[in-house]
Amino acid sequence: MKREIPLFVCVVSALAMIIAYYSPKLDWMDDMLQKWFLIIAVFAFILGAISIILVNGNRISKQVPGWGYNVVLLIGLFVTLGLGIFGGIDPKTPFFYIFTYIFTPLSATMFSLLAFFIASAAFRAFKAKTWEATLLLIAAFIVMLGRVPLGELMWSWLPVLKHYSLNNLVENWIMGCFNTAGQRAILLGASVGLISISLKILLGIERPYMGGE
């Protein structure tokens, strides 16, 4: 029973979702199951909060190196939670100020790191060690030139190539032919894989939701 019931719930839910996708008359089943998932997710969210409190509380009680950060995290959690529950989340509330002036800039800071990581990853990826890597480097250089106004200017100085559009070369040929073809090949393979794994889950051959057994 421990295995049969989850399997039964999985098969019934999956069939309902499939039927709802193809039948406009029965698409209410999709909405209903999505609502059920949200309700379950709310309970799991409480488990998530308990996990944060236990892991960080344990580190504080053992005073492991850097435990001060765990204190900051727990204070942040309880203060934000308390302000949100008792003060509301409308504009000009303390919660709103925390969200706008602490949380949003911190998220933007993390996101801005991406620019530097792209530079370091590109530096490693574009080393012309083999002829394939050299082709990649040349293609990347042309695409980068095509994306900036300076590239268009530099292109216009070239004797023969200036008669051809750099934008046309980048957009229509490199990005439109090679890049799109590659992306679609990956997408088609992934879609077939998706159908296969969905079928395996539906038939109970693969059961990752039951501890992988």
Binding site: D27, M32, S51, S107, A190, V192, I197, L203
Partner: protein
Amino acid sequence: MLNRLLVLIIFAFWAMPAWAQEAAEETAKDVRWFNPDRLPNVIGVLLIGFFVFWYIIHAQSGKKLFIRRIAGLNAIDEAVGRATEMGKSVMYITGLADVDDIQTLASLSILGHVAKKTAEYESNLLVPCCRSVVMTTAQEVCKEAYLRAGRPENFKRENVRYLTDDQFGFVAGVDGIMVREKPAANFYMGTFYAESLILAETGNATGAIQIAGTASSSQLPFFVAACDYTLIGEELYAASAYLSGEPKQVGSLKGQDVGKALILAAIIISTIIITFFPQTHEFIKNTIFKS
């Protein structure tokens, strides 16, 4: 526990008609039983599904099927072994999506294999999660894997922890763990967005061996640039079959290959028709695919 679950299920099915009626009143403006616009879709799914199903049955008869070598999956054992030799942890990230995403489910299957290996080698496994439902599922997957490896006492529930639902908050948390604990092997399997390169580059800077796998085509170049091995698209979905080696699972891979061959044939035939017989192309477009 089971009794309570049964009561809940019975209650759910009892409440379903009323709920369904309410939902139906809200949404059922379209009264058709079948949407004909989705006919090509259903034909494609049935056709590929048939081949997958056929090869699953075929594989069960005991005939050995060939699967090509996938370097990224062979490297999993090597990565866990390296972490054990160095006395450091293994980190596994299941992506940013929730458990209703098929990539997350594929990732959880691979997590089961990685957790079993870490249990056998007695190394430490860290699984920071971005979704609380994924955390609870990952805890069960790891617990089961440690049990299968015969070392349930080594499973540490607190190592499978929830960080935050926020994308960049999660990145900050994972990067912090990487910099402080310096895991020797990092696995990124599942759905990733803009954070993929931040995670992979930080892992690279700490000197970890990194294996990534995703079907998010826009993030694949980042993983290829920053990781040692990358599972591209379908390889992520094939991983559990490849690792388990079960005939039923392997059979499904063969069915997938036939599905891809069908798509390839359709692309070649369509290209020939569009190039050399434009009138036939117009006829097919206006009759079969008319919507």
